[in-house]
Amino acid sequence: MNRDYTPIELLAYVAAGLLEDNKSVFVGTGLPMIAGMLAQRTHAPGLLIIFEAGGIGPQVPVLPISVGDSRTFYRAVSASSMHDVMSASQSGYVDYGFLGAAQIDPYGNLNTTVIGDWSAPRARLPGSGGANDVGSLCWRTIIVMRQDRRRFVPKLDFITTPGYLDGPGARERAGLPAGSGPYRLITQLGMYGFDEQSRQMKLLATHPGVTVEEIRDNSSFELIVPEDVGTTEPPPPEARRIMREIDPTGMVIGK
């Protein structure tokens, strides 16, 4: 099989495909920005990109390094403040939010705080930043992360960002907006949705060349794998060209 695209390009392309035109999306550092910008330059020109530091609706010229850097509000409609964009999210204005994570559990709960015991961790991770706010307040979250047995765990060391917590209705019982929650999860192996009944992650499609065995082997918990599992579409040359325009020095897509 001719695979001339990189895994990161595939992830960004698949993620971009989920973003609908004229919707709003919170984007974070790195791959989510590439996905948002790619969507905006292809099928979703009316996509409203929002950065948690205050940039609303920018025409992002090139990949920003920080969610607060000047590139994030270039030719924006608003360059305000964190509380402004977060309040908009709290009021239900943000459709999608991108998240990454060091650990995920079957309900899409995410850990970006510590590995090990929180009071004496083996590894301190960056912390929530805006991740918890995005996962709590956006309507649909899209999680993009690496998949392996250390990352896909039955129970997190720390829930930084709530997914479906421990099952149906749990988000609502905790006080989070009814109907909000994880929508899709994309890893280097495939794409997952979240089962309507159990709220656990469920495989939707593998990436080209990936087997279901590989998927199962790279999780410490048992994954829901339906009979019919599709295959994701790899990025066409035009999409790859646009991604290289967005990230010309390969800060993210070169990894």
Binding site: T29, G54, F73, S81, A120, P126, D133, G250
Partner: protein, 322 residues
């Protein structure tokens, strides 16, 4: 409501406004518009036992942690995003147990400052619910009780008495001092920020005293010409320091971009820690006779010209970021 001359030197500002054990917050966000020159002066004057509040600091708080100056941080994130995340000194300090810390989300941490600025004891929100940030607390209740300025509890959960909605109550914070770096400040003290404020409007208003370092000090006549562009009125500001390039190596919208070369030097030193980080501080902080000497050490006018913002963009599209 004083308009007496508030312009002082960086050294005086740190001497007069910062004491050991102070509760402090800084303006900016990750790699943008932190009062770095002020922070380097704090390290030079060996201030310590700092209690730092914020949402998403980066090299600013990491440098203070690396210098051994910090007792506790109550923040949502400490990192420089794609450059280095989490910040290495912070990471090491948490893993070694040498600082206290408390995790909030960005919105949660910012709302504490909003509450403080509004003169309220707490503020409700719908964020952080269901997460371990509400089941786990970073520092012990007895530490909270021992410090009258610390919030007695990390948060409280309640049902809204009007609607029954579950909400979190976040305790207000009123730091002893806020330090902000702005592009412009009037001689009277009125602050104008170009580009995003991040949360600096509330950072300034929550604190009991405010120090502003600025790229430019302008006449009161000028600052009164477009008042809607002004962020903080003079009577909220206690001291002003003229510090061109005072945010370096962080970016300052409209003035200069972040300095990827210096970030690489810092990241290497802070990842290594120990002697390597002491050497970094030796070169750029303790060994620099003043801010101007620091600027020479990071590459002088040639490097600063290289970082200069393009007026059409507010940043420099030509800066090599990798």
């Amino acid at each position: 409501m004083s308009k007496t001359n508030k312009i002082i030197s960086l050294q005086e500002a740190v001497q007069e406004f910062i004491h050991d054990g102070i509760h402090i917050t800084f303006g900016g966000f990750t790699m943008q518009r932190h009062p770095m020159a002020f922070i380097r002066e704090m390290v030079r004057q060996e201030k310590c036992k700092l209690i730092i509040y914020g949402h998403s600091p980066g090299i600013d708080v990491d440098m203070l942690i690396g210098a051994g100056a910090v007792k506790r941080v109550e923040v949502a994130y400490i990192g420089d995003e794609l450059f280095v995340s989490p910040s290495p000194n912070f990471r090491r300090a948490v893993e070694e147990g040498s600082i206290q810390w408390e995790d909030y989300s960005n919105f949660g941490a910012t709302l504490r400052l909003v509450a403080g600025a509004l003169g309220l004891p707490f503020i409700p929100a719908r964020t952080m619910l269901g997460s371990d940030m509400i089941t786990q607390s970073g520092f012990e209740p007895e530490d909270r009780r021992a410090d009258p300025k610390a919030a007695p509890q990390k948060h409280v959960l309640m049902e809204c008495p009007f609607t029954g909605d579950k909400v979190i109550l976040l305790p207000a914070v009123n730091p002893d001092v806020a330090v902000i770096h702005a592009q412009m400040v009037g001689r009277d003290g009125t602050v104008r920020i170009l580009g995003q404020s991040y949360a600096d409007d509330f950072v300034a208003r929550a604190a009991r005293r405010v120090v502003v370092t600025a790229e430019e000090i302008v006449s009161e006549e000028f600052i009164r010409q477009c008042p809607e562009q002004n962020c903080i009125p003079f009577f909220r500001v206690d001291a002003i320091v003229h510090v061109p390039y005072g945010a370096h190596p962080t970016a300052c919208h409209g003035c200069y971009d972040y300095d990827p070369q210096h970030y690489a030097v810092y990241a290497e030193a802070s990842r290594a820690g120990g002697d390597a980080f002491r050497e970094y501080l030796g070169t750029y902080v303790h060994g620099a006779s003043d801010h101007w000497d620091y600027l020479d050490r990071i590459g002088g006018t040639k490097q600063l010209s290289y970082l200069k913002a393009d007026p059409a963009f507010g940043y420099n599209p030509g800066v090599r970021r990798r």
